[in-house]
């Protein structure tokens, strides 16, 4: 594992331990805080009850202060005096009570007027109600009633529902010269929750003469107590009876609503305590106190429940938790940052040293160590830097030696300086060896110069020969190509001659067939001429026959005319004969016309035959001429065929000769190619020789130059 990783891990573990301790402390302190707040909230509840007690006590005192006032004493005394004169006080009071209670609501009967508008009533209204309203903005007392010793009203600030009060609990109490503080009640007249209080009025002799009763505003006692002691915005008070009936709350509530089923009521155990309850998504801290231990003014049947939202109560704790969280995160970040920084300050120089050592192991001495700290790492780096310096000096010395500078002496730093001693020995040995090499190099350089010159001459000669061979090869190649062309042409000629010979033979045979045909035509023409002549003769015979027929027709015609004449002469008997004569006449005329027509046709035939005879004669002449010409053509073709045969034989011979010539040219061309390649190889070889000679020469020169660098 890397040093940096180890360091970060160490820091992280450390920071985690701190965070763990912090969170443990926080949760422990939170529990302690909750406990403290719970206990404190009990004190708060007790404080509220005490304040409420004080407020009630103050109200009672205010009433007590009123009792010795002259106006009050006189009014009560006057009333008592009137009542003492009455024979039956209870009946009187009953009668007046009936009048009082039977009055229409909202209306005022004279009896009421007398009391409500009495000087004492107006005085009480002014001093006990309006004064506080003006002073505090709200009423301390909602209502004040003064009675005489019989419980009959003497003065009142607002109309009371009843006239008679002697049977009421408060009156019975004060009649015993005791103070009265009742339970919270909801006054329907004022539509307000009030706490009834009453004090006895005693005269100068200490005798009970009457009472003052007042309804103290519950708001004025309880809510004002909350406002004056309010610790948290979410603090609310709930006053209820020990059986769980609501009598007052700073929240919306219903008078005497049964709250015994509520979760908080079930947690009320003992005279005081605290607990937390989750309602909806809110956690509330409740504290409660029973009132029985808080003096005479607080009803012993009350339980005061004080509630606060735990969010608000523990707001500081939540802020603390948030701060611890932030601080933990900051410490974590800082811890990791410091761990990383320290690990880097250690690992970075070591890493650098490792890199430089690696480079040194590869012979790279260019790096220097720039880290300059005054700790152990710094000392290590300085030693490493010094080692680089020494190695570098040795390397420079080796470099000088490598450049041939053997003049500098090597001074070993100590007897244990292995490298220094070895270098000193090496320099000494090198000096002697280098002297011998210089001499040898000079000799080699001279010899190689001469070899190079000879090789150059050889290369030049080879090149010229190779050029000539190349030219010859090219010429032979051209001749070879010409021979190839000639050979091909000779072959073509031979083939044409062979074809011509065949054609001439076919021509001879054709001419013979033509001559034979012409002879046959000539014979047929002779036969045709004889036939045409016979035809001509026969046409003449037909002409004669037709002339005879024509004569017969004319004679017939004459006979028919004669017969007709005779018939006419015969009269009636010759009429039939006349008809026959007519018919004969007609026939003779028709015969005559037919003969005429035949004669015409015959004339035409005769003319045609004449023309045919003439044509036959001319055809015979032509055929004869054709026969002769055919025979002449046959003779000519025969001569031509003989010539063609001769030419064919000659061309075959040419083609054979050309082929032989071509074969010979191929052999010459191949030989020339071989010569050219051999010549080229010769040139290359001579060039290689030349290059080798040059290289050898350069080597000799370099050897000379190198040895010249040595400073001995």
């Amino acid at each position: 594992m890397k040093i940096s990783t180890k360091l970060i891990l160490a820091f992280t573990v450390l920071v985690l331990m701190i965070a763990g301790i912090a969170s443990y402390s926080f949760f422990r302190s939170r529990n302690a805080l909750e406990e403290t707040l719970g206990t404190n909230s009990i004190f708060i509840a007790e404080g509220y009850l005490l304040r409420m007690n004080e407020a009630l006590e103050k109200n009672v005192e205010i009433l007590q202060i009123q009792t010795p006032r002259r106006v009050l004493q006189e009014a009560i005394a006057a009333s008592n005096l009137r009542y003492r004169k009455l024979e039956d006080v209870p009946s009187h009071m009953d009668r007046l009570d009936k009048q009082w209670t039977s009055a229409t609501p909202g209306s005022t009967i004279p009896l009421m007027h007398d009391i409500l508008d009495s000087e004492l009533s107006l005085e009480l209204k002014k001093t006990l109600i309006n004064l506080y309203e003006k002073k505090q903005g709200s009423r301390q007392f909602e209502y004040v009633l003064v009675t005489n010793e019989y419980g009959a009203p003497v003065a009142m600030t607002t109309r009371n529902p009843f006239y008679r009060h002697d049977n009421e609990e408060w009156f019975k109490t004060v009649k015993k010269n005791r103070l009265f503080v009742g339970d919270v009640e909801f006054d329907e007249s004022f539509q307000k929750t009030v706490i009834p209080v009453a004090v006895p009025v005693i005269d100068d002799n200490g005798r009970f003469i009457g009472a003052i009763k007042a309804s103290v505003s519950a708001d004025g006692v309880i809510r004002k107590t909350l406002l004056s002691l309010k610790r948290y915005k979410t603090t609310e008070l709930l006053l209820m009876t020990t059986s769980g009936k609501a009598v007052y709350s700073t929240n919306a509530f219903r008078f005497h609503e049964d709250l015994s089923g509520k979760p908080y009521f079930k947690n009320i155990k003992g005279l005081s305590g605290y607990f937390t309850v989750e309602e909806g998504q809110k956690q509330r801290l409740f504290s409660y106190v029973y009132s029985e231990k808080f003096g005479a003014f607080i009803s012993p049947h009350w339980v005061l429940l004080v509630q606060h939202d735990l969010d608000e109560v523990l707001a500081k704790s939540f802020i603390l938790r948030k701060h611890i969280l932030i601080a933990t995160v900051i410490v974590l970040i800082l811890g990791i940052t410091i761990a990383v920084y320290i690990s880097r300050t250690i690992s970075k120089p070591l890493h650098r040293a490792r890199e430089i050592a690696l480079k040194m192991s590869k012979g790279d001495l260019s790096e220097r160590i720039s880290i300059r700290t005054h700790d152990e790492i710094g000392s290590l780096m300085q030693s490493l830097d010094s080692m680089i310096d020494t190695t570098k000096r040795m390397a420079e010395l080796a470099d000088r030696i490598s450049h041939g500078d053997l003049t500098g002496g090597v001074q070993p730093r100590s007897e244990k300086d292995v490298l220094g001693n070895a270098l000193a020995h090496m320099v000494s040995d090198l000096k002697g060896q280098v002297s011998d090499i210089i001499e040898g190099a000079n000799v080699i350089a001279t010899a190689t110069g001469e070899i190079t010159a000879a090789a150059s001459q050889l290369v030049a000669g080879s090149s010229e020969t190779a050029t000539s061979i190349s030219q010859t090869t090219a010429t032979v190649e051209e001749v070879k190509q010409a021979s190839t062309v000639a050979n091909e042409k000779a072959k073509e000629v031979s083939e044409v001659a062979q074809k011509s010979m065949l054609h001439s033979q076919r021509g001879q045979e054709a001419v013979k067939k033509v001559i034979e045909g012409m002879g046959s035509i000539k014979d047929r023409m002779k036969q045709l001429a004889g036939d045409i002549m016979n035809l001509s003769d026969q046409s003449h015979a037909i002409g004669q026959i037709i002339a005879t027929v024509n004569d017969i027709a004319e004679q017939t015609n004459l006979l028919s005319v004669n017969a007709a004449i005779e018939a006419m002469k015969a009269g009636e008997y010759g009429k039939g004969f006349s008809v026959v004569a007519g018919e004969i006449k007609s026939l003779s005329e028709q015969s005559k016309r037919a003969t005429t027509q035949v004669k015409t046709i015959l004339n035409d035939i005769q003319k045609a035959i004449g023309q045919a005879v003439m044509a036959t004669e001319e055809g015979s002449k032509v055929i004869e001429a054709g026969v002769r010409q055919s025979e002449e053509a046959g003779e000519t073709i025969e001569v031509l065929a003989q010539n063609i045969v001769g030419a064919s034989e000659a061309s075959t011979q040419i083609a054979a000769s050309s082929q032989q010539q071509l074969v010979g040219m191929d052999q010459v061309a191949l030989a020339m190619v071989s010569i050219r390649e051999a010549s080229a190889q010769n040139v290359n070889s001579t060039r290689q020789v030349e290059n080798s000679a040059k290289n050898l020469h350069e080597l000799g020169q370099r050897l000379r130059t190198l040895t010249a660098n040595y400073k001995l």
Binding site: M1, S23, E133, G137, A252, R254, G280, Q281, K282
Partner: protein, 379 residues
């Protein structure tokens, strides 16, 4: 990855998990506060003749902020959806329908008698509680199941006015009233009560947009006192014109007229009216609200602003620890309750729908101050 780096990663991951575990309760606590909000539709006259009701809106916002800062009601935040009725019943109805369609809030708040009366059938139809503020018309809570009022009624206005008239010995009363449900309601009740005592009443009405009242004032000039019933702007103009017309009798006006617009004008000096106790500088129950409101808005606390604030706080207090839906809210209101708020202890009787606060006779003093007339006997 190298072995050492793997170990490092594992350690850092473990560390983060460890720190998260340590403070998980704090994280979980913050995350748990995201329940569905309780939506409240508010249809308020932000513009028009009753634009002073802007103060109702402002106080609602202030109360919602405070309640939400304390974790809301049962951990649920209050979300106000506010729409302007423009002092127009029709606009109010449109606003109600818009809100109902889009948000279906848990309950509604409205201001102004005319607008609230227009919304009344909608609240009944949708079976949602509508609490009307700054609404004095008697009809608003008659024969309704779902509509409640938190303001003075015509009846509660009449009591202190009658007390003042009695103390002043007035026998002939002139009433100048706004011709709308609110004005008619208050006028009728006072007329009835005053005539019961043998007094004589002469009345003249005006319309919502009227600004000149001289003709009416001349008709009423022969009376020993003139009582004006109207919106703040109407009262302001009426008082100015009464003074201008040289009226020498007593001038009284309705409680809602206690507003800097009225009290600050010199003509208002000597005007009598009923008022809640919140204007008494010694009154402790409104002290915190007065400070917060004036600090936040730079304006004096008025009855309008106080009632908006108190309503929301009252309902928050009433519904704490109970399931919250439309039916449950109505049931809780129906059961009645007692609440100690800005106006002192107030009481809603079971089955009733009017939550009123006590009014006391006051006189507008020089410089716009309010002087409580305690010697008159108060309520």
């Amino acid at each position: 990855m190298k072995r050492s780096n793997k170990i490092l990663c594992l350690v850092i991951t473990g560390m983060l998990l460890y720190v998260t575990t340590l403070f998980l309760p704090a994280v979980a606590f913050g995350a748990s506060k995201k329940a569905k909000p309780i939506r409240v539709g508010a249809i308020i006259s932000l513009t028009g003749a009753a634009s002073t009701h802007v103060e109702v809106r402002d106080s609602l916002l202030l109360a919602a902020e405070e309640i939400n800062a304390g974790g809301g009601i049962n951990g649920r935040r209050i979300e106000l959806i506010i729409e302007d009725s423009k002092t127009d019943p029709d606009e109010g109805v449109k606003a109600f329908n818009r809100i109902e369609e889009k948000y279906a809030p848990d309950f509604y708040i409205s201001t102004l008698s005319s607008v609230s009366l227009a919304l009344l059938p909608l609240a009944e139809k949708h079976q949602v509680v509508l609490v009307a503020l700054v609404t004095a018309a008697s009809e608003i809570t008659k024969n309704t199941e779902w509509v409640f009022r938190y303001w003075t009624t015509a009846e509660s206005e009449t009591v202190p006015v009658m007390s003042m008239l009695k103390n002043l010995g007035v026998k002939k009363l002139g009433i100048l009233y706004l011709n709308d449900p609110f004005g008619i309601s208050v006028f009728s009740k006072l007329k009835e009560e005053f005539e019961k005592t043998g007094g004589e009443v002469q009345s003249v009405s005006f319309e919502k947009n009227d600004t000149v009242f001289s003709p009416q004032i001349r008709k009423l000039a022969g009376n020993e006192a003139i009582y004006t019933v109207g919106l703040v702007e109407h009262t302001k103009n009426a008082i100015q014109q009464l003074r201008k017309e040289g009226y020498n009798g007593h001038i009284l006006c309705i409680s809602g007229s206690i507003h800097p617009m009225v009290t600050a004008q010199p003509e208002s000096q000597g005007v009598l009216l009923p008022a809640p106790m919140i204007f008494n500088p010694n009154y402790v129950y409104a002290r915190d609200l007065r400070d917060a409101y004036e600090k936040r808005y730079g304006r004096q606390l008025t009855a309008q602003s106080a009632v908006g604030y108190d309503l929301l706080r009252m309902l928050a207090s009433l519904m704490e620890g109970k399931p919250i839906d439309r039916k449950q809210i109505r049931q809780e209101l129906d059961r009645g309750f007692i609440y100690s708020g800005v106006f002192g202890e107030i009481n809603l009787r079971p089955g009733e729908h009017d939550i009123t606060f006590p009014l006391h006779p006051v006189e507008i003093a020089e410089g716009g101050g309010i002087r409580y007339l305690f010697e008159s006997g108060g309520q």
